[in-house]
């Protein structure tokens, strides 16, 4: 089902003139209201009048995570603080999170974007949907929740952490749809199979996101649970989940181009690349009021396809992600940068600067093992002092990255050291096929 046919299926010409008008408006807004952007534009000798439409997009400066950090928390806000109604955040490379702020009107825009995605997956107001994303600063829970309510579905805000209750209520309440991470859904599938409950559920549709997944995972969920599974994409900085979603033809994720202007750039030369090229996805907010970002570098590597889809939508499709142009990991839906781990370890006495993150997927759940070398003088003959060290590392990591990591103490020299920059990550999952 198409939620907003007038927008989702508008002709490319109409769409491009809408995008141009909105881009001009957004550029004017940030130039006049955000000192940081005004300076950035002035440094490039740009005035708002130089941007007459999307053809001038490549003249504009990029926005990166570094810019968000430099202006944290509200330096990029384009409206007075009193106009803002919500903050969401996801982890940044070190210390400060990446945040997004929302005006009341934009909460509705976001909800409509999510509702379009849910409708694309075949979900309607007659569905009963469980939201299995965390509720809180993370955009997943509240983002999917507001979208599902906007659509009119009956929403069960499950959040995360209690699979048994999720399964019980899935059966008791005749739940027909679920929004959660793909790895969590496979974990749920396993529990359903173990308990012999697969025949008892009425689930038809899953809308999964917050981490990259593969066609093999889709095949598994669809065949094991007899459902249809759709991929939803988003990022906190731009708005949250609901930036893009894949339709029943699974030819890529339709990005809501009337709100998010996508382009692909070369992450090395930073040159704008023609349609159909591989590169880094860059998004410009076209309708966001609170903190519109201009040419935000997502660091996600992909390609955009613009031909009309069989589903009738004209919106460009983001192709399968090939990886990232930075070292960010997504573990159980949580963004983790090795530099965050490094910073946390530096505060623990008794470890060397050598460490290794080993990420794996066991029984469809991501696991993170942090291997740390114990320094010579931290070693004692007593197990309890080493266990205390291990616990201290675990707790500091939990605070820094929000995940429970398995800490493995290693002998000094036990970790491979590389010349110059050490390699700090071993990712055994095959997320980018």
């Amino acid at each position: 089902m198409i939620w907003n046919e007038a927008k989702e299926c508008m002709s490319r010409d109409e769409l491009e003139s809408l995008q141009s008008a909105r881009l001009v408006k957004t550029v004017n807004r940030v130039y006049h209201n955000v000192e940081y952007y005004r300076k950035k534009m002035q440094e490039k000798g740009l005035e708002p009048g130089d941007i007459r439409g999307i053809e001038d997009l490549s003249k504009l400066p990029y926005t990166t995570y570094q810019d968000l950090r430099d202006t944290y928390p509200f330096g990029l806000a384009a409206v007075p603080r009193s106009e803002l109604v919500r903050v969401h955040a996801s982890s940044g490379t070190t210390g400060k999170p990446k945040i997004g702020v929302y005006t009341r009107r934009y909460i509705d825009v976001w909800a409509e974007c999510v509702a379009r995605c849910l409708a694309m997956a075949g979900i309607t107001k007659d569905d009963v949907i469980q939201i299995g994303y965390g509720y809180g600063l993370f955009t997943g829970g509240l983002g999917a929740h507001y979208g599902a309510e906007y659509l009119g579905a009956l929403v069960l805000p499950m959040s995360t952490g209690n699979t048994k209750k999720l399964i019980d209520m899935m059966i008791d309440c005749d739940v027909t749809a679920i929004a959660c991470t793909p790895s969590y859904l496979l974990h749920v599938a396993e529990d359903l199979e173990k308990e012999g409950l697969v025949d008892k559920i009425k689930l038809k549709t899953a809308i999964c996101g917050a981490e990259p997944w593969t066609d093999e995972m889709r095949d598994q969920m669809e065949s094991r649970l007899h459902i249809k599974a759709h991929d939803i994409y988003g990022l906190t900085e731009i708005c949250g989940p609901g930036v893009a979603c894949d339709c029943e033809y699974h030819r890529g994720l339709h990005i809501w181009e009337d709100h998010f202007l996508p382009e692909v750039i070369d992450p090395e030369t930073l040159e704008h690349k023609p349609a159909g090229s591989d590169g880094e996805l860059v998004i410009t907010n076209l309708t966001k009021e609170g903190m519109p970002l201009i040419r935000y570098r997502t660091k996600d590597l992909t390609r955009l396809e613009y031909d009309k889809c069989e589903c009738g939508r004209t919106m460009a499709r983001i192709q399968r992600f090939r990886g990232r142009s930075d070292d960010m990991l997504i573990i159980r839906g949580v963004n983790v940068f090795p530099s965050q781990v490094e910073a946390a370890l530096l505060t623990v006495e008794g470890t060397t600067p050598h460490y290794m993150l080993v990420v794996d997927r066991v029984d469809n759940t991501d696991t993170l093992e942090v291997q740390v070398e114990v320094s010579e003088n931290a070693f004692t003959d007593e197990v309890k002092s080493l266990e205390k060290l291990s616990k201290e590392i675990h707790d500091k990591l939990k605070t820094a990255i929000g995940l429970n990591a398995k800490v493995r103490l290693m002998e000094p020299g036990g970790l491979e050291h590389f010349d110059g920059k050490s390699k700090h990550v071993t990712d055994k999952r095959k997320l980018y096929s």
């Binding site: 070693f379 004692t380 003959d381 493995r408 103490l409 290693m410």
Partner: protein, 139 residues
Amino acid sequence: MFIKQLSVFLENKEGRLDDVLGVLADNGINLLSTSIADTTEFGVLRLITKEADKAKDILKNAGFTARVDDVIAVVVPDAVGSLAKVMKDIHRAGINVSYIYGLSIDGPGAPIAIKTDDNEKASAVLEESGVKMLSTEEL
């Protein structure tokens, strides 16, 4: 009176114990007793040898993390309750036992290694109670 104990940090990795013992054997270190404290993540190998300091240097040069600590070696008579009495003496003095293990050294009596949070005081208490203790030389 104490004996010297060599402790070695072991990653929980296949063949690591073999590596340690191999290095010591290659360097002619004779081991009198071994004990291992293990968790799921790592182990601490405790070794008694007359050449603990030399053995530590050998292991360090071979890339291991090792250290030498004093432990008390008591010899308790081969009779019911004799170890319990030693423990009671230590406990009464307000000293905590960190760990304890049997030494595989010939009797008479049962040689036991004890590490406490105050070895000096424990040693004095046991001396006063007439408990027989060993030095490294006596091993």
